[in-house]
């Protein structure tokens, strides 16, 4: 059941829009915003979210700058998650966890650098 034929230009624009929208889903504050305005409960919106799952395909996923958005998209398929997002605490918790995860590698790298520096110091010291 395809809708009305859209021109290629329109399709390209739609691609851009959907690309942007799917990545916006990585923003927990935006999700909270959507939940509080009741969008997450509307059936067409839920169907749209299911349609957006095509971004999981590698040929589409390579355009995603923020890959976390795919995880959020998957979680959004569950009604329980959509309901929970109405709470601001939930959004805040997700935000914190995202930030901590985001900093995980830089922290790890810093630790490794520190360990390396200490090792070099201990190697250089006894002379």
């Amino acid at each position: 059941m395809a809708g009305a034929m859209e021109s290629e230009e329109q399709a390209r624009i739609r691609f851009q829009l959907e690309l942007e929208f799917v990545q916006c889903l990585a923003n927990p504050n935006y999700l909270n915003f959507l939940a509080q305005r009741g969008y997450l409960q509307e059936k067409p919106f839920v169907n749209y979210l299911k349609y957006l799952l095509y971004w999981k395909d590698p040929e589409y996923a390579k355009y995603l700058k923020y890959p976390q958005s795919l995880h959020m998209l998957e979680l959004l398929q569950y009604e329980h998650f959509r309901k929970e997002l109405v709470n601001a605490q939930c959004a805040k918790f997700i935000d914190e966890q995202q930030l901590l995860h985001w900093q995980h590698y830089s922290r790890k790298r810093m630790r490794m650098q520190q360990a390396l520096a200490e090792q070099q110091q201990s190697n250089a010291a006894p002379k």
Partner: protein
Amino acid sequence: MAVSERSTKEGLLSVLDDVEVLSRELIEMLAISRNQKLPQPGEESQILELLVQRDGEFQELMKVAQEQGKVHQEMQLLEKEVEKRDSDIQQLQKQLKEAEHILATAVYQAKEKLKSIEKARKGSISSEEIIKYAHRISASNAVCAPLTWVPGDPRRPYPTDLEMRGGLLGQMSNLPTSGVNGHLPGDALAAGRLPDVLTPQYLWQSSDMSMNMLPPNHSNHFMLEPPGHNKENEDDVEAMSTDSSSSSSDSD
């Protein structure tokens, strides 16, 4: 006497009976004729004739019985043959069934293998592409925080408010009241108020890369149920099905 309709055995036995009776009469007659003169001289010859006749019948019936015996033996032999062939057929049947079973298993496993090969082939991505992608997403600090990040830095692992409004999506939708600081997104860009650190070096809209990318077609009516079942409410779906089953049992 309708001898042809009786069985050979009955025929033989009746002939034997007759012979017995006739011989008994003959012997009685001979015994009587010992004591007195023959009252009926023709009788003994009659009896003798009958005796001879009965004997002839007996011989014939014996021949028939012999032939029947031969036929019966042949029948038995043939029956044994038939049994042997039967068991052969049954064994072949068993073997055929086993072979069919083994082939079915082999075919099934081959199909599974083909399926997994297909799956692997579908999911294969050139390592170069993966490395390129990894480069892209880490260079832009999308998955890994910048090394100089401190709390208070506005950068985030997701598109921020400003970035969202600055994109195509933000410009297409009218946001009369919810602009940042009351300004419309176009203004913010035009006024150059976006700090340098926020202008993404790599556009997350990637309009330069995706010139030829088209999204999948969809019906414009997201009101309709999508095909397949939704992940949401798997519990609810089960609850609904039990409801319907209870209602159907009521209607029964």
